[in-house]
Amino acid sequence: MSFRGGRGGGGPGRGGLKGATWTQDEDLEIIARKMKQINKGKTSIFPVSDIHTQHKRGSNNIQEHPTGANVKRPKPMTARERRQVRHFKALQELTHRGPLYTQSTKRNVENPVKTFSEEQFNMQYGTDRKANMDPFTEGVETYSDRHAPPKNVIPRLSGRPFNKELFPEELWSTLEGDEGNQGRRHLNYAINRKFMDPAARMRAQRARLDRMEANGGDDIEGLDEDMPEIEEEMDDEYDDDEMGDDYNAEQYFDNGDDMDDDGDGGGADDY
């Protein structure tokens, strides 16, 4: 129904859609009354369709479902089918344990919200688990959490053999883990810089600016989608410059994890 055919359209003034009125349907009422009489007030929620009862009355292997629904049990599985399922499950489990699987980042798995637009749909993902945890049920980390299976936010591609020539060129750096190295380099730089003397720091900064210019030039020529990343990078640096990051308590806990995740994802690291 179109929007106009809704409540407004049904009103007497508009004329709107034919048949979309909100007056009561007398026929329906009559049917309902009749049904009530027949069933003496009791109506099952899932009435048994009479086609099936007609058709299958002869066979007595149909069990009545507790709710009265017309549910037939599938025939038991053959040995072959069981084997198929077993293999499927084994493979699935291996994949899930493997580095390519990414766990869900959905906000609430238990009560999914209905989404209407792409934006809303995207909103439900990509949440930080720690920021969104429920402190009453799962909040407190326990010792045994260290045994929890690792959660991948992005697939860990390091250490896997890839045949680069089969991938598009723009993914090559990802496959090689260069992307991760970028982050690592950056971290190293930040750490080193803390212990540098001011003169060296100036020199390094100048060199860095030069390099960034060169990089930026490349990027403008080449791939647009790299831009957000560079921005991110710059943001981080900015933070570092501002306050050395010593008092950021959240960073103290969180960054460690992030570092691991990142390293896993890209760099050919072996910790």
């Binding site: 198929q84 929890a148 697939p155 250490g159 957000p228």
Partner: protein
Amino acid sequence: MSRSQYAVELCALLVDETYGELTSRIFTTLLRKGRLPIATISKHTRLTPRALRHGLAVLIQQNLVYHHTVPKGLTHYEANDDAAYNLTRSGKIMEIVESRYGPRARDVVQNLFLHGHIKVSDLADAYKSPQQPAVNGKANGHPAVNGVNGHANANVVSEVQLDVILVELLELGLIEPVVERMFRSPADTRLEVENRILRDEYNGEVKGKTKELLQGKSKEKLEEMEAENREWKSKVLKRPLNGVLANGVNGSSKRRRLSHSGASINGDHAYEDDGTRLDPNLVIRINHEKCAVLLRNFQLVEAVKDRIGETTSQVYAELLKRLEKKITKCQTPKTEDDDQDRPSVMTKDIAAWLPKSVNVALGIGKTAVDAPRAGNIGEMTGSPPFNRKRKADDLEAKADRNGSDDEDRPVVNGNGTTHDEEDDPFLDDTAVKPTKRQKVTFVDNVQRPEGFHTKDDRILQVKDHLFLLEHDKYGFVTKAGMNGHGEWSVDFENIIKHLREAEIDKLVLEMFGPTGHRLVRMLRKMGKLDEKVLKDTALMKQKDVRTKLAELQLSGWVDIQEVPKDGTRGANNARVIFLWFFDNERCSTLVLDHTYKAMSRLLERLGVERLRAKSVLELTQRRDMRDKPPDEYLTQTQMNELNAFRDREEMLLGQLNRLDEIVGIFRDY
């Protein structure tokens, strides 16, 4: 190409189930929006380019996404929904491989599934060093807890064995060498080929007539490319020595032993070193098209088992097995010389390859025509034990027989007389035997123990089975020649058409009862019908017919066509004929769509069940626990909960596999 809503949903769920959320989100976006570059995907998904690139790398690795880079530099990605659907079949494929080549081969295939595509050398490395993260997932860094390892170690495969297994699988076509073309969408490939031809031969101009020529040429070229890919042997093998390859194609002793040693079903083969080495740089992957051929064979055998009987189905299975090597994929584009090209197999070969454990004397029926004949043989050959045996078998076989064969049986025997020189098992049994034996004895058929029946009997009985198959309504085999006691080919397209009809019939009967079924069958047989005619033919009251037809129409199984007698088409024009019709094609899409929906619901249900059993599942997934048997550390209540969940999971996945068979029948086969 438009896909239905449910197909998209199912593919998204399958990718999510296998490779997780990130990949699934990217894949769904690609599926819904068509081909996109990274920047646009990022806009639609709000994922960072870094995450996107990682996700895409996984998807490409598993061939779930095609990519295409134009010379200018922008790369587009496109979802490969067939590959996504094929994720459901992994269990089935592994089962087939295991039943044929043993658990080791299954393990290799499993690794191939895990990796998507992989170099032979990398696969070998994965086996050589069990600590390698590539195979064992999260095993690195936690050597104490690497249970995946334990799994792999159970079937340690040496490099030589690996090569032998791979060669075997390659030869059958279950795995295929990967070429770059596979990562490009078929449309892109075609376009490229066309452009190349255009450039090279027509100097970049197309006019009316050349366009058709161009199309023909590009098609040829594409087929050529495909065929080239199949010719893997020349490029790949380092030293094609005595082993599988030298005489592997037809009649090699090795292949023969493998394919009909009964032990192969349970035990491992002794994979001996026969000097075959694969090129370590070869990149391989699972060939789903070929796998579909095997699955189709299984489906057909099941159909035969239902319609004719157990023994006949075994004969048929053997026949299909002979053929499968020559069939690369299920749906081949139709050509004019289709009938000539169809691969065929000889009766004597089937008889020779059939495992000894199959008693072919069972399940060949004869009733009315048989009585005088049996007397005949008794007079002529004086071999009563033979006859008695056959009669006993008939009684036994009668159980698994349905009505349609009874009609066929006289035809079988009647037909036999036309080829009397080789058929007619009874009359000239003794007379022909000596000569025939010499004719049929062939190469390395040496130490076969002579069973209850002689070899000739066996051949003839096999032939009887084949006649049964030929004269079934479905036409499971068609006669292709006279050599070697008759050559047989299989017209798959026709059989699958019958199977589809049968499947639709089953569904209609289930949903609309016998009357609805009757109407549908009538409409199918007689074409478009007026309501009145329908009423008379079906011997039903008009009211009943109308209700039933309306019911059928509402759910889309039948439909009405209006044929006006004159130009005016008013609402209450009596001069309009309404014709009801039933269309198999339409119903096929309907069934497919319903099946996709059911499958995606099953997967969603599985998710819900997982959520419900979360507390127990989390325990079993703990890194320190996951490789121990759960009854060691779970309490009784938890165990019960776990078992209940596993039962449900098995049921849901089993149902998924069953529905997949329907999809196979209606789409792939």
